[in-house]
Amino acid sequence: MQRKENETPQGQAASVLVEFLEVAITAVVFLKGVYPSGFLLPSLDSPSSMPFLFFFFFFFLLLLLLLLLLLLLLLLLFDVGKGAFERRRYMNVVVQRARHPQLRYYIHATVSGLLPFLQKGMVDRVAVVFFNTDNVPLEKFIFKLTVNQSYGSSVEGVDLQISLRSFLAKLSVSESLTKKLPPDCRWEITGNFQLLPETGTSKEANFWIPTDTKQWEQPLFITPIRSMSSDPLCLQFYIEHPSLSESSVL
């Protein structure tokens, strides 16, 4: 049954989209720095070629030894420096993946719970919402989706991935568009459905609960990050944030 659904272009698009969303949401969470990011990892990751100077050879050797010792200590005893994310490649773009299984599961489960609804084109938008301690949303990263239900021909998964890739690339450089979050904030993933799925009819629908996220009273602002309109998937990615007056108060 699952495979049969995937054969439709909408199904194909939806499964690609789900995968993408998982990565993109993780990227957003990483971008906002909700969780600590590792400081030692980049240095470990990138192979650095040292200038081979005979003069400083022994000096370096000593330093290296010391560093290594320190690192080992840190890694072994305190589990520091790894951060909450690890670098991975997705569609040939460097992305982050949550290291903590619960965090990873949350993102994965939420997004894959969307799959049946995405296939039916019921999901209007998927949002990553950041709250402050008072549960007032500070910023929303919104994926506005349109899955063309009448699209007939098959989907080139590769083409779709390439266009989705640009989202990740753009996202990684759009930190300046976002605002700094205060400490101790929390976040959640919400999905806006075009019509509420009837609970009880399907198992998938039961996973979803109505959100109690407070709405902004002030007019909100939109900063588009990336848009993609290709069949059967049309995706808009933008940031919503409250007007400046409110943010200055906070």
Partner: protein
Amino acid sequence: MDSRLSNSSSSTHHSNSKKRKKNATANNTNQKTLGVAWGSKSLSASSCSSRKSPFSDFSSYMAHKNCKLQNQFDSEASASAARKPIFSGVSIFVDGFTVPSSQELRGYMLKYDGRFENYFSRHCVTHIICSNLPDSKVKNIRAFSAGLPVVKPTWILDSIAANRLLSWVPYQLEQVASNQPKLSAFFTLKSSKMSEDTFTNALCQVEPDVQDSFPRVGQLKERHPSEVGEMVEVCRQISNESNDISSKKTDVFMMEEPIGERVICDEEKLAEANSSETNNERNTEGELDPTYQEPSTSFSIPCSDNQNVHQFPSSEATGSSKQCHSTLTDPNFVENYFKNSRLHFIGTWRQRYRKRFPTLSTGLNNGISNSNKSDIKSVILHVDMDCFFVSVVIRNKPALFDKPVAVCHSNNSKGTSEISSANYPARSYGIRAGMFVRDAKALCPHLVTFPYNFEAYEEAVSCDEAFLDFTDAMVEDPELLASSIRKEIYETTRCTASAGIGGNMLMARIATRTAKPNGQCYITPERVDDHLNQLPVDALPGIGYVLQEKLKKQSVNTCGQLRMISKNSLQKEYGMKTGEMLWNYSRGIDYRSVGIIQECKSIGADVNWGVRFRDMKDCEHFLINLCKEVSLRLQCCGVQGRTFTLKIKKRRKDADEPAKFMGCGDCENLSHSVTIPLATENVEILQRIVKQLLGCFYIDVKEIRGIGLHVSRLENADTSKQEKYTLKSWLTSGSASVEKQKYHMGHNKHNSDCANCASSHGCIHSQGSSFQIDNKILNIHVSGDPISTPPPLCQLDVEVIRNLPSEVFSELNEIYGGKLIDFIAKGKGKCESSSSLGNSLEDDATCKEEDLPYSDPIPLNQIFSENKAMQHERVLGSGHGSCSQVTHNSNIERDDLLPSSLSQIDASVLQQIPEDLKAVILEHLPAHRAQDFCSTPAICPGRINQDSVGVDTSKNCPGTVNHALNDSLWAGNLPSWMDKFKDSSCLRKLGEIYHRSGFNSQLSSVLPQFLSEFHHLDLTQEIYDETVNIMCELLKQYVKVKIERDIEEIYICFRLLKRFAVKSQFFSRVYNDIFPFLQAAVDDNYGGSLFMP
């Protein structure tokens, strides 16, 4: 003791190395070592030792090492006694793991006078032995093997077992086999006798002779490197013989032995062989080319099927052009396909024949009706050419008269081309029509194959069998007549024919069977029973394989046994018709009479071979050609059809690549059909219908393995034309009244230069897009109309209109016009009410359709703009399920509904049309005509354009400009604002830049360039309010178009605009004007305002 020992060993080592050094200097090494390429063991070993070795560099070390190994080998070889020089001249190199191991192989080489190389060298090695190759080496086989044969180790073992050097060719590594050239292609069919002799001679000759002669071949090879590459394996037999030689040849050639002076006559022979290659070329091109097109597949096929499959350069006068045999590569695939199709040839001969002798067949018809009436003993003669296709080919080649010959597309011995005809010598080998060449060649390796030669067939006779009814001719001796006919046939065509005479067609045919080849047989009514009794059932016409199997299950093998079964049980078992047929035939009863020409019920064309599509475009292109073919056939038969069926063979999900090359394989058969009210044979209409039908399949074009188009419900073209004529004349009379009223009712499509024509085209456009959402049947009618610029109203329901008297019709027209005005007055949101009205009466339906677009102009624009991009995108305000249908349909119609020229529009008529309508009409006029008027530099790409012509129309009716502006600045391939901006010098610049960047590019990419150029203009020119307004309008509509799907684009544009607003007064005005609108639009769509930092 201990120390001494070590001492001595070191000293020997020392002396050894000294010797080695000596050797190295003595041995002049022009040996190019490929040690690096040949595995890491040598490299690592050498790099370790090189540090302290006395050799200056790696190459000298290697040279030395090789030399030493050789010496070692030589000494060992001389030590091994009693060796047979099987492998003399053979020097092998073992690559990778083999069974037996390389050491064992080395042992064999020692034993049998061969050489064994530890390191590969182009100059020493003659054969590479390996049992498996990595993919990278296979891909780059030339770099790997340097052209040397890559052979499996079994070659050596078998050679030893046979006690002689076997040809390496059958032992080639499968992975490589497809790449290696063969000599065999030089020796071809035509001279097969000759060359065979030569080769057998050559084989019998003493070795040196052979060796002497083969350097010539090598030279030849050098002279024609291209030809070497193009060699084709022609005949198994020959190749087997030549393989031996060729292997030796390469040996000789590789070893660079001095060429002996004794050059025997082989050169001449080779020249001959070369010339025969010309003939061969035609034979092979059929199936071979496509394999060459797909080199990747040749690797995956383990057999040597694709060996040396290359394409011949058509330097010869045969003029055979390159033929591609897949829909992928050949733009004229359909044409070529049918050109080369035997079945097509046979299938269509009847038409050609009938065309040639129209009176004859009718005359026959009369005769038959007579003979049927009179119950006198009928005599039917059946004349059948003996293996027609073959005899035509070989009639000019007496040499082949008693050789097995077959006709088929290909002569590749492993090919999957089907044999269509084989002569009697070939049949004696068990070769039958319909066999794969592969199997046939297995049965009879000598088999000579020829390609079809359709012109010759046509020239000789149109088809290969005929029934003649002699009942009325009162011939006293039918046998005499038959023999005279046969004689005459032979004299004129030089092909033999067989004749059978019987009481009816069945018996005549059976008689012919017995008579063949080249004989005749008369089955008198008295002998019918005897003859039939022992006749096997499958000899009866109409009994195919399946039926035969079924009968066999009942242990029915002969007609005599079949007769035992009662008619009833036969009918029960096999169905009414088949049962009766069996019963009748087994008794020699055949009620058919000669000359009855069955009217064909359907005409069509199927292509089930070589159909591969990459994308929709390929497929559509193919369908267009198929339509042409079918249309031609319809025209040939002088008929028109009403029902069109598109059949598609879709690859089954788990089906492998078919056994037959480029065949259809295991397929699902799908079909869709439509029926249109008026019969047609028009190509364009066919194309439209087919396109639409294809749309119904929702199929991935890559999965399509075969397509067939059939036209049924045939009508005679003449009668249907008459029908059309009356309808047309009736319509024109109706149109007069319409014209008087100056309402664009669109019934007068036939006077194509009239303004009404154009106007109703516009209307029907909107109708096509909106009305057909809920009425699919109607849509089929519309698209299927046979007239190329059809009257859309008539399309809606011809039956209804046909039944209307003209007075009623014109009256209805008046009412209709009045209603129309009402509708327009009522304005928006009335579609619902009108739709119910529209459904009640077809004419009303159009009325409602015309109304629709005005009530909701934006979605309409979107439909059109999206059509242009050929995307099935979401349309505002229309249901998901139907929108792709909409775009599709309107697409179809656009081709034929657009007026051919703007000049055809009568300005006065246009002014009478209500404003709203006028705007829509103008919107849908083709831009290429519009350009004639306003001399736009842009050339419109493609056929579709519906740009409004703002500037142009303003001359005629200024009122429409605003409407046109409001709706469609961004509609069309060539957005209409470009015309509009011609007036304003500064904005024209924008148009030009946009034009340069390609029309489909986004505004954001154009804007910066424009702004920078605009900067200069800004200083010199004053800013007019109008310019600002136009610019605002332009941007507004751009926002409208893009806001829903591409907010990023809008964002970028306005960020740019804002940036330039600082510099330029013009843009600050534009920005200030447009900004509130933008924010409102964003708010509508996204519930927030755009953040502009």
